[in-house]
C-alpha cells in the first residue's frame, strides 16, 4: 500500500507540472502565431516580437523554455521521490540524466 501511495504521489506531482508547462508552451506558441499574423503594426506587440533571447523572439523563447522545463522538472521530482523512497539506483540514474541535460543547456547560454 505504501508503494502504491508513493507511486501515485510521484505521478500526481509529475502530472501537474507537465500539464502546466505544456499548456504554457502551447499558449505561448499560439500567442506568437496570432501576433505575427494579425498585429504586426502595434507598438507593444512589435516590442514583444523584437525582444529576442538567444536569437528567438520572446514568446517563442518562453514556449521553448516551458518545453525544456518539462523533462527537467520531471526528472528532478522523480529523483527526489526515488531518494526519499530508498530507490537509490533510480534516484542516481535520474540525477545523472538531469545533470547531462543541464550541461547541454549551459553550453547554449555560455
Amino acid at each position: 500500500m505504501t508503494v502504491i501511495n508513493e507511486k501515485n504521489k510521484v505521478e500526481n506531482s509529475i502530472l501537474k507540472i507537465m500539464k502546466l508547462l505544456l499548456i504554457t508552451s502551447v499558449t505561448m506558441s499560439m500567442a506568437s502565431v496570432l501576433i505575427e499574423v494579425n498585429f504586426m503594426d502595434q507598438y507593444i506587440i512589435n516590442a514583444m516580437l523584437n525582444t529576442s533571447l538567444l536569437g528567438i523572439d520572446l514568446l517563442k523563447f518562453l514556449a521553448i523554455l516551458a518545453l525544456f522545463m518539462i523533462p527537467v522538472i520531471r526528472l528532478s521530482i522523480m529523483a527526489i521521490e526515488f531518494y526519499k523512497s530508498g530507490s537509490y539506483i533510480n534516484g542516481v540514474t535520474e540525477s545523472v540524466v538531469l545533470i547531462m541535460i543541464l550541461v547541454l543547456a549551459a553550453r547554449i547560454v555560455i
Binding site: E11, M18, V26, V33, I56, L67
Partner: protein, 282 residues
C-alpha cells in the same frame, strides 16, 4: 520574422497528423515529421531533425499526461532506461551533425525498413499467453487495461539487456530526430516482456529526455528554424491529445499492424529521396 500563412497551415496540419500517429504508436511523431518536412517541404534533413526534436518533446509530454493519468506508464522502468537512452542520444545527435544529408536520409529509411520487417516477423509468432507463462519469473508489475476494465499482470524481464539496448535506441533517436520509440517499444515489448500498451506509454514518457537532448545539441549548432517552432508545437500537441485517447480503446493487433505499414512506406520514400530518385510527384 514572419511565416506565410499558407506555409504555416501546411506545417500545422502535418504536425497534427504526425502527432496523432506518433502518439498512437508510441513513436513520438518524428518518424512522420522528418520525412514530411524533407519530402513535402524540401527542408534539409538536418533542419527537419532539429524541428522534429521539438515535436517529439511536445508529443511525449502530451501523450504522457493521458497515459500517466490512466496508470499504464511504468515510471520506474523509464527511470532505469533513460540514462542509456540519454547517453545514446548525445552520441547520435553529434554524429548526425557530421553526416551528409543524403546519407542520413538513406540511414533513416534503412533503419525504418529493418524495424518494420522485424516487427512483422515477430508478430507472426508472438502469443498473448507468452506474458502469462513468464509471470513468476521476473519482477512482477501490473497495469489497468482499459478495454477489459481489469488489472493485467506482467513480469519484467532482462533489465540489463534492456538498459544496454536503450542506449542503441537513444543513438537512433539523436541521429534521426525520432523519439526512439521505434527501438524502445520493441525493446520493452519483445525483450523485457512488457505489454505493448505499457511499452508505448512508457516509451512516450521517456522519449522526452532523448528529444530534449537532441534539441539542445541541434539548437546549439544552428539547425533549428525558430520561425516554425510555433506550428510544430501547436500541431503536435493537439494531434497527440487525439492519438493518446484513441490508443486507450484500440485493438493491440491493429495498433501493431498500423505501425508496420506506416514505417514501411516512410522507409521506402526516405531511401529513394536519399538516392535522388523521384518516385511520386506530390
Amino acid at each position: 520574422m514572419r511565416v506565410e500563412l499558407l506555409f504555416f497551415v501546411y506545417i500545422l496540419s502535418t504536425s497534427f497528423i504526425a502527432g496523432i500517429i506518433g502518439s498512437l504508436l508510441g513513436l513520438g511523431g518524428g518518424i512522420i515529421l522528418v520525412p514530411a518536412l524533407t519530402i513535402l517541404f524540401d527542408m534539409p534533413i538536418h533542419e527537419a531533425i532539429g524541428l522534429s526534436f521539438i515535436g517529439v518533446l511536445v508529443n511525449s509530454s502530451s501523450s504522457s499526461l493521458v497515459y500517466i493519468k490512466n496508470g499504464i506508464t511504468d515510471i520506474r522502468l523509464s527511470s532505469i532506461l533513460e540514462i542509456g537512452a540519454a547517453i545514446g542520444s548525445i552520441i547520435g545527435a553529434y554524429t548526425a551533425l557530421l553526416i551528409d544529408s543524403n546519407v542520413l536520409s538513406i540511414i533513416f529509411g534503412i533503419v525504418l525498413g529493418y524495424v518494420a520487417i522485424d516487427m512483422y516477423r515477430k508478430t507472426r509468432t508472438m502469443k498473448e499467453n507468452h506474458i502469462k507463462r513468464e509471470l513468476n519469473s521476473g519482477e512482477e508489475r501490473e497495469y489497468f487495461e482499459e478495454s477489459t476494465k481489469k488489472m493485467v499482470k506482467y513480469s519484467l524481464l532482462r533489465k540489463k539487456e534492456g538498459i544496454i539496448l536503450s542506449s542503441v535506441g537513444g543513438i537512433f533517436a539523436g541521429l534521426l530526430g525520432v523519439g526512439g520509440g521505434v527501438i524502445f517499444v520493441p525493446i520493452m515489448n519483445r525483450i523485457m516482456n512488457v505489454p505493448i500498451k505499457v511499452a508505448i506509454a512508457t516509451s512516450s514518457f521517456m522519449i522526452g529526455v532523448t528529444s530534449l537532448v537532441g534539441m539542445l545539441i541541434f539548437f546549439n549548432n544552428g539547425f533549428i528554424d525558430v520561425r516554425i517552432i510555433s506550428p510544430i508545437i501547436i500541431g503536435i500537441f493537439f494531434g497527440a491529445q487525439v492519438g493518446s485517447r484513441i490508443n486507450m480503446v484500440i485493438d493491440k493487433r491493429l495498433l501493431t499492424n498500423i505501425f508496420i505499414l506506416v514505417i514501411i512506406y516512410i522507409a521506402f520514400r526516405m531511401v529513394t529521396n536519399g538516392l535522388g530518385i523521384e518516385v511520386f510527384n506530390i
